[in-house]
């Protein structure tokens, strides 16, 4: 009986010793505010992805060099290179869209004076395939060639994947319309905050690579971490701006 009691006690001790200690994590709340040029008002940078990479800037030196040296094709340049019509380039630009999925394609974009040729031919094919105009319009993107549909996005994804492989990115989040985004469940330590692929802003490209400290217990309720392309006393991470590269087709 005594032996059983000792054995049970030993087992309980071992189990308790193996119980994981609750991990203390922190939150990083970003607020990205930018100015397209000196005369423009400051605004929240909406719908842009930011990445968090474990380690210091020094530890991620190779990745940062790769970010700075990567060849970059701008959105307009990509579509020009793929012989997109001026109307499609205009439609994408009007909504700051990277692909045809970002906003609904309306009737006036498939016929009439404002028609986008790529949409018009996809609509004709969809009418034939799906039998009625309503479905043809709603399912229109299924008949747009892949390069015109989301080729630019996929190219960007490939470039990102190549960079991510080098840097052990742990999280990526997208800013909301106010330029706010949250990284949650972060282990305490040093990270590099980066957009990995430069952001098109007016006539420039902006790259952010900044070192951030996350402490256990940091909460989203605390002051946001300010990110901008302009220096200011409150800004913690200032981006580096470069002029937009010239497109080979221009």
């Amino acid at each position: 009986m005594k032996f059983v009691f000792v054995a049970v006690l030993l087992m309980v001790t071992v189990v308790l010793a193996q119980e994981p200690v609750a991990k203390q994590t922190g939150v990083l709340r970003l607020r990205v505010r930018v100015k397209a040029d000196d005369s423009s008002p400051q605004r929240g940078l909406s719908r842009k992805r930011f990445f968090l990479i474990p380690g210091t800037l020094e530890q991620n030196r190779a990745l940062i060099a790769a970010i700075e040296q990567q060849p970059l094709t701008t959105r307009d340049c990509y579509y020009k290179q793929h012989q997109a019509s001026a109307a499609l380039i205009g439609w994408l630009k009007e909504g700051d869209c990277e692909s045809v999925y970002c906003r609904s394609i309306e009737r006036d974009s498939v016929s009439g004076a404002k028609a986008v040729p790529e949409f018009a031919s996809a609509f004709a094919a969809s009418q034939k395939e799906y039998g009625n105009d309503e479905t043809a319009l709603r399912w229109l993107t299924t008949n747009i060639p892949a390069d015109m549909r989301d080729g630019f996005y996929r190219d960007r994804q490939h470039a990102l994947e190549a960079l991510i492989k080098q840097g052990n990115t742990i999280q990526s989040v997208m800013t909301d319309r106010n330029g706010t985004a949250y990284f949650t469940d972060l282990g305490p330590g040093t990270y590099v905050l980066s957009n990995l692929i430069p952001t098109e802003l007016g006539q420039t490209l902006v790259t952010w690579n900044c070192e951030v400290q996350v402490k256990a217990g940091d909460l989203a309720t605390e002051k946001p971490y300010l990110v901008s392309n302009r220096k200011d006393k409150n800004v913690k991470c200032v981006g580096i701006e470069k002029p937009m590269p010239v497109c080979a087709t221009d």
Partner: protein, 290 residues
């Protein structure tokens, strides 16, 4: 007694084993080895949605004996609501009363990248957003897509995973499961659409649901909303003090139930530390209030 004992033990072990080994043809499982063939072996991919069970051929090639066993063969009840040769009525496809066998692989992050643009607080401008899939279900809850039609309008062909690549989205779950009809909500008084005194709750979904844009799958996805999402308006100096007021009410009466955001069950619990942090006060437990 000593002679009976081994028989009794054998009986107790063998009978359940025998019972568990007998297949229940009234229940269909995609986990059965022979049911793991290519999906289109049985399911026909139909435009614009897959709305019906596979035909008899899909089953009868292996299960002919079960089809003709007794007056009411259990196998029929997998698809048919009535087991009768004179009635071919089937359940809705898929039968909502049965457990789910597949998890859905849905990367919110990628869809967020390409679909969800800004939803402006003024007149809609035709931008696609979360509402393209998550339409209002009630004032509190949003709906989730229930049919293939919601996906096929982009993924019918060429954009992977396409319609006949079932495994692109459907992954066999470890065990059949049921999902709650309504997710549990902490702030049940919140209204998505048209909420707020000036109906200003029509905002951008990811401003509050902060973990959606990083979610590469549905696994472990929760509708995380930090308290700051609410208190940026609801607990701001010179604007409103909805949170602070209720914390003060607890100070005066520890039995006070917070009702501004919560139903009684949640509102009668101890406010979490995050709430006190917003109000710039140390956290308190109701039991410690005199």
């Amino acid at each position: 007694m000593t002679l009976i004992k081994p028989f009794l033990i054998c009986f107790l072990i063998c009978v359940p084993l025998r019972l568990s080994a007998a297949p229940d043809y009234g229940k269909f499982s995609h986990s059965t080895q022979k049911h793991k063939a290519a999906c289109n072996t049985c399911h026909k991919i139909t435009f614009p949605d897959i709305k019906d069970y596979p035909g008899h051929d899909a089953c009868v090639s292996c299960h002919r004996p079960q089809f003709f066993r007794g007056a009411r063969p259990p196998i029929c009840s997998v698809c048919h609501s009535k087991t009768s040769p004179r009635d071919d009525v089937r359940y809705t496809f898929r039968n909502p009363a049965t457990k789910l066998q597949f998890d859905i692989e849905f990367p919110h992050d990628r869809h967020q990248d390409v679909i969800a643009l800004l939803r402006f607080s003024h007149a809609p401008q035709g931008y696609n957003n979360c509402t393209i899939c998550h339409a209002p279900r009630t004032t509190t809850f949003k709906a989730v897509p229930k049919d293939h039609n919601s996906c096929f309008n982009c993924h019918w062909k060429s954009q992977q995973p396409v319609a006949d690549n079932c495994n692109g989205c459907h992954k066999l779950a470890n065990a059949p499961y049921v999902t709650a009809e309504f997710p549990s909500r902490i702030s049940a008084k919140y209204m998505h659409d048209g909420g707020g005194e000036k109906k200003q709750h029509v905002g951008e979904c990811t401003s509050c649901h902060i973990n959606i844009t990083k979610a590469a799958s549905l696994r472990g996805l929760k509708p995380d909303v930090p308290i700051t999402a609410c208190t940026e308006c609801h607990n701001k100096d010179g604007l409103r003090q909805d949170l602070s007021k209720e914390l003060l009410a607890i100070d005066k009466n520890r039995g006070f139930t917070c009702v501004y955001c919560h139903e009684a069950k949640v509102g009668s619990q101890d406010p979490p530390a995050s709430h006190y942090l917003i109000a710039e006060r140390p956290p308190l437990k109701r039991k410690d209030i005199k």
